[in-house]
């Protein structure tokens, strides 16, 4: 029986906005296909052996918690970077996305990141909060989620995760969202991201399985009717110009 090991980094510090739904999604979509899933939560200060891991989830935390995490990151930085360069699968959400970069500068201080991605984040007082719809070249179905961030992330020469169809994205102005690098997807999308975007979940699972068991591995399709309904509901809503107008008026009154 095939098996994947998922490392959940610092759930005691980085566990905002239902991010654990991503773990649940990884787990169930493996189990439903008869593949074993082991989830290992690494609490702050725990030793992490990246060689044992097939998928790493780095979630989001508040600015204060992120600062605490920053201290622990220094210890794992080299191993984490080697894991990524070696094709290790990573899903980094929100704060996790920012921490993969060089730094996150707030009004009060600068939080040093892992420096695995050549990106930087600057804090601005107005938070970017709303539903978001992306078109990603990796997938046919749009990716939907909810963004909620004070940081503006500048991704330099990196490939974005998707083009913003509705919402604000990396900086609120660039028109793009997230970063894809090797087998890393880094994004601001909560929701949580994976349950409503099974295509993203399966993409990451397949990458992890291929890395471990060879290119011959393919994933059986699942009956994703409900997933697609939840996804289409948001896509349809924000394809409707009248609805967007109504929501915009509400937002500013």
């Amino acid at each position: 029986m095939m098996k994947l090991t998922i490392g959940h980094l610092y759930p005691d510090l980085l566990n905002l906005y239902g991010d654990r739904g991503n773990i649940q999604c990884f787990r169930k979509r493996l189990e439903w296909r008869g593949i074993e899933a082991e989830v290992i939560p690494f609490l702050s200060g725990d030793k992490i052996d990246f060689q044992k891991l097939d998928i790493v989830l780095l979630g989001g935390g508040s600015d204060r918690e992120q600062e605490l995490v920053c201290g622990f990151l220094k210890d794992i930085r080299e191993d984490f970077q080697a894991y990524v360069e070696n094709g290790g699968v990573v899903l980094a959400v929100c704060g996790g996305y920012q921490l993969l970069g060089k730094y996150y500068r707030t009004d009060k201080k600068t939080i040093e990141g892992l420096g695995i991605l050549d990106i930087t984040t600057e804090w601005e007082p107005e938070r970017l909060i709303r539903n978001i719809v992306l078109n990603s070249p990796l997938f046919e179905q749009p990716v939907v989620g909810f963004e909620n961030h004070g940081g503006r992330t500048y991704i330099g020469d990196h490939t974005p995760f998707g083009k913003v169809f509705y919402g604000l994205g990396n900086t609120g102005k660039s028109g793009y969202e997230g970063v894809v690098y090797k087998n890393v997807i880094a994004t601001y999308l909560h929701g949580p991201l994976l349950p409503k975007n099974p295509q993203v979940c399966d993409y990451l699972l397949e990458r992890a399985l291929k890395r471990k068991y060879g290119d011959g591995v393919t994933l059986e399709p699942l009956a994703d009717e409900l997933e697609h309904k939840a996804n289409s509901y948001i896509v349809d809503r924000y394809s409707d110009k009248k609805y967007i107008l109504k929501e915009t008026i509400k937002r500013y009154t």
Binding site: L13, Y17, G18, W32, S62, I129, P192, L226, K250
Partner: protein, 482 residues
């Protein structure tokens, strides 16, 4: 009174009666907006007319119930009390509550004001009201899309209370965030807390805020958790610990579904069915002691108090017992899951999740609720409703709990009442509460409490549940996972 204030009140009243005539909802915020437009200082004026004291209630969970207890306690002593009953707890709603209860001359006749204040609105409201007391129930994860992060809520509350440095804070010392707020604010404060373990395992969601010391950043140690981050904590590094509460409830016992407890030498046989109502009672009592009013007849008052408050109502429809519950954030929803599990009888469950601005547009908090327990709830059917019914459905699917969905809540209620277990739970989030309550009240009337036949006609007239409802999903389950 200034002419400007008088004019503001007149216009607000006119707006209110116009809304009522046009039958456009209950009109609780627009009159306040109009009044403030004409007289920006209207709330200061109104607050000045309150003869004795003003108390505000803030916090994530339990505001409305706590505020209702305060109001009842004061009223039972013959005091005249202004209250914003309708959950209108933003600045405009609060102004409406004041101006609409003035007499023809625009004068208030009130001894006390008990005002529930939204955490974000607190920054604007507190300096205008300059309350004598500010009660804080707890600070936890709620509507994060509005507040951003729980630390932002914390900072808003801090700004609000430090703008009124003489206001006495009533603080839940089991909540490290509230406690830290009180210690750092410089305001005088009184604490309440519960030192016994009263919540069951299911009530304790894994999701917790701030289990790290707010002084030194090291991980806190807990003797035990009540729920969320509430519990008995200490920091092994710097020694910061939960203080001994000034007021506490002890010898807490559950008999025949209701709690009894001792509090400040009173023995209370309460009508509370849930442990968090003990917190609400204790916090209200602490506030009354701090205010120096309303506590003399507290035992008598509270033992007759109905915690239901319209948020938890029980209906008899066509011989079926239908319970309506509000669940608007993870901690609240976890409590409801726990409540459902305490009922061993077979049941049907309908969950309605909307995502209007009032509800919070971000529904990702559903994934912070431990729904896996519902697998053991003896539920014969679970149906999801509301704009985000498919998100709710997915949440259950990823716990391997089958469910259906509906776009017609009324038809589904009727169907379950007719063909179900006669024991129906309807759980809704904020924006669905008023309408659902109204609908169930109406069904209770038209179908009758014991119900003879009328539901049959009602049902055929109503729409059909949408495809992919419980039956189908249930059948699909096996094949899908094969």
């Amino acid at each position: 009174m200034r002419l400007r204030s008088k004019l503001a009140i007149k216009c607000a009243k006119a707006t209110s009666s116009l809304i009522k005539k046009m039958n456009r909802g209950s009109g609780v915020t627009l009159p306040g907006y109009v009044a403030r437009l004409i007289d920006p200082k209207i709330l200061n004026e109104m607050a000045g007319q309150v003869r004795e004291k003003i108390i505000v209630t803030m916090g994530t969970n339990g505001k409305t119930t706590t505020n209702a207890i305060l109001c009842r306690a004061l009223e039972s002593e013959g005091k005249k009390v202004i209250i914003n009953r309708t959950g209108a707890n933003m600045l405009n709603g609060i102004i409406s509550a004041f101006v609409l209860s003035t007499d023809k001359k625009g004068r208030l006749d009130a001894d006390f004001a008990c005002i529930e204040v939204d955490e974000i609105a607190s920054v604007g409201v507190l300096p205008r009201l300059t309350p004598d007391c500010a009660l804080l129930t707890n600070i936890s994860r709620d509507q994060l899309d509005r507040f951003g992060e729980v630390d932002i809520t914390y900072n808003k509350l801090m700004t609000a209370v430090t703008s009124v440095p003489k206001t006495t804070l009533i603080i839940n010392c089991d909540d490290i965030l509230s406690c830290s707020l009180a210690e750092n604010s410089g305001n005088p404060y009184v604490t309440y807390g519960i030192s016994e373990q009263i919540f069951d395992d299911i009530s304790r969601s894994e999701i917790r805020e701030s289990i790290f010391c707010r002084k030194c950043g090291k991980k806190l140690e807990y003797d035990f958790f009540h729920y969320g981050q509430l519990g008995i904590y200490h920091c092994p590094n710097c020694g910061w610990e939960r203080p001994q509460p000034d007021y506490t409830a002890e010898h807490i016992e559950l008999h025949d579904e209701v709690y009894s407890f001792d509090m400040d030498r009173l023995h209370i046989d309460s009508t509370a069915r849930t442990p968090y109502n003990i917190y609400n009672t204790l916090s209200a009592y602490t506030a009354l002691k701090a205010l120096g009013a309303g506590y003399a007849g507290f035992k008598e008052m509270i033992e007759a108090f109905d915690y239901g408050n319209n948020r938890e109502s029980i209906f008899q429809i066509n011989g079926a017992r239908v319970q309506l519950h509000l669940a608007k954030n993870p901690i609240g929803f976890q409590q409801k899951v726990s409540l459902v599990l305490k009922d061993p009888k077979p049941k049907d469950i309908i969950i309605q999740i909307n995502d209007t601005y009032q509800d919070g547009e971000d529904i990702s908090w559903l994934w912070d609720v431990d729904f896996q327990y519902l697998a053991d709830s003896n539920a014969q059917s679970i149906i999801t409703a509301g704009t985000r019914r498919h998100d709710m459905g997915l949440r259950l699917k990823y716990e391997d709990i089958p469910c259906g969905s509906t776009t017609d809540l009324r038809a589904s209620v009727l169907d379950r009442v007719e063909n179900g277990t006669k024991n129906l739970y309807v759980i809704v989030n904020y924006s669905g509460l008023y309408r659902t309550n109204h609908m169930l009240t109406e069904l209770e009337k038209t179908c009758g409490k014991t119900g003879e036949g009328k539901a049959e006609q009602e049902k055929s007239a109503a729409g059909k549940p949408e495809p992919g409802t419980q039956g189908q999903n249930r059948e699909q389950k096996g094949g899908e996972r094969a």
